[in-house]
């Protein structure tokens, strides 16, 4: 959706530039939509552009959640509780499907082993996020390295 808007409609970036920013936005800490917004804003108009894009991508969601939150969170109405429960169940189902989609793209045995090891470390051994990154990123750097640009 962002691509359609910034590449196709407004021609702020070409496809290569966009993919370049997208790969960085995916790699760095932070939420992808916000990262992309900051990168596109900065690309177009330096730090004021980055700030404008940042707030423009954060404020609407924040405002909507506050509007919902203000009356939903303290509500003890049974239908409200049912509605929130429905949202939660389906959101988890969607994230599960997303994880399936991303995983079946990675048919490589080493990558699947890494995925399982990380998930097990966090679920079974409650390893913290910081420690997980510290342990597994160096392992992944070695394990997923393919010299001479050989395709996996």
């Amino acid at each position: 959706m962002i691509r359609r808007e910034v590449v196709k409609r407004r021609a702020w970036l070409d496809d290569d530039e966009y993919l370049d920013l997208l790969s960085l936005g995916n790699l760095l800490p932070g939420s992808n939509p916000i990262n992309i917004a900051v990168l596109v804003g900065s690309h177009l108009a330096g730090w004021p552009g980055a700030c404008a894009a940042f707030f423009a991508s954060v404020i609407p969601g924040f405002a909507i959640l506050m509007a919902i939150g203000a009356f939903a969170l303290d509500s003890h109405l049974p239908w409200m509780s049912g509605a929130l429960g429905g949202c939660a169940a389906v959101a988890v189902g969607l994230t599960f499907a997303n994880a399936v989609e991303l995983t079946i793209k990675r048919i490589d045995v080493v990558e699947i082993a890494l995925i399982v090891a990380v998930a097990a470390a966090v679920i079974v051994f409650h390893v913290s996020l910081a420690l997980t990154l510290l342990i597994f990123i160096p392992i992944a750097l070695v394990a997923t390295h393919r010299p001479n640009g050989k395709k996996p």
């Binding site: 370049d20 920013l21 936005g25 995916n26 790699l27 760095l28 800490p29 932070g30 939420s31 939509p33 916000i34 990262n35 900051v38 900065s42 690309h43 730090w47 954060v58 969601g61 909507i64 959640l65 506050m66 919902i68 939150g69 203000a70 049974p78 049912g82 509605a83 429960g85 429905g86 949202c87 939660a88 169940a89 389906v90 959101a91 988890v92 189902g93 969607l94 994230t95 599960f96 499907a97 997303n98 994880a99 989609e101 991303l102 990675r106 890494l114 399982v116 990380v118 998930a119 966090v122 996020l129 910081a130 597994f136 990123i137 992944a140 750097l141 394990a143 997923t144 390295h145 640009g149």
Partner: protein, 172 residues
């Protein structure tokens, strides 16, 4: 002080959130549910659902955690803490990134991070699923949503909205 605690928890999540919002779900749950007991596991899953409903990043659910702990100011602190630090890192790195185009390390790091992030996302799915209340009906809704997402390209926020309506009618 509660605001300082909120700021600290979400700043750390922000800086460690490689690979996007879903990868920080297990640690966010460990912090706000297991450690500080700010909210319950069920609330956590609900906030996540509302986060998916809102435009922009699902991580905006941090606003709801802040709101539950310390009202509107808490929500503002949590939101800024979860988005500003990573935003600054991204802004600073954006300039260097273009120059590294073609550098073999760029591709290598990007490839290494993917499976680690995916493991964290699976742990996040598990963490969230534990907080889903509502028994077989809720599980059925989750399964239907997963199948629909895999076979259609329907809008996710719209699916969550419909789920809210169905939940209001049948889940209580």
């Amino acid at each position: 002080m509660i605001y300082a605690r909120l700021a600290l928890v979400f700043t750390i999540l922000s800086l460690l959130g490689f690979g996007g919002g879903n990868a920080i779900i297990p640690q966010m749950h460990a912090d706000v549910v297991d450690h500080f007991h700010w909210i319950t596991s069920t609330q956590f899953a609900r906030f996540y659902g509302l986060g998916k409903l809102s435009p922009g990043a699902t991580t905006t659910m941090a606003a709801l955690v802040g709101f539950a702990v310390a009202g509107l100011l808490g929500a503002t602190v949590a939101t800024l803490a979860v988005f500003v630090p990573s935003g600054v890192v991204v802004y600073a790195t954006g300039h260097v990134w273009g120059k590294l185009r073609g550098n073999p390390w760029r591709e290598r790091v990007a490839r290494a991070i993917k499976p680690v992030v995916l493991g964290l996302i699976w742990a996040g799915v598990y963490t969230l699923a534990r907080g889903v209340a509502g028994g077989p009906i809720a599980i059925g809704m989750a399964v239907v949503a997963a199948v629909l997402m895999l076979v259609t390209d329907w809008n996710q926020a719209a699916m969550v909205l419909v789920a809210g309506a169905i939940g209001a009618a049948v889940l209580h």
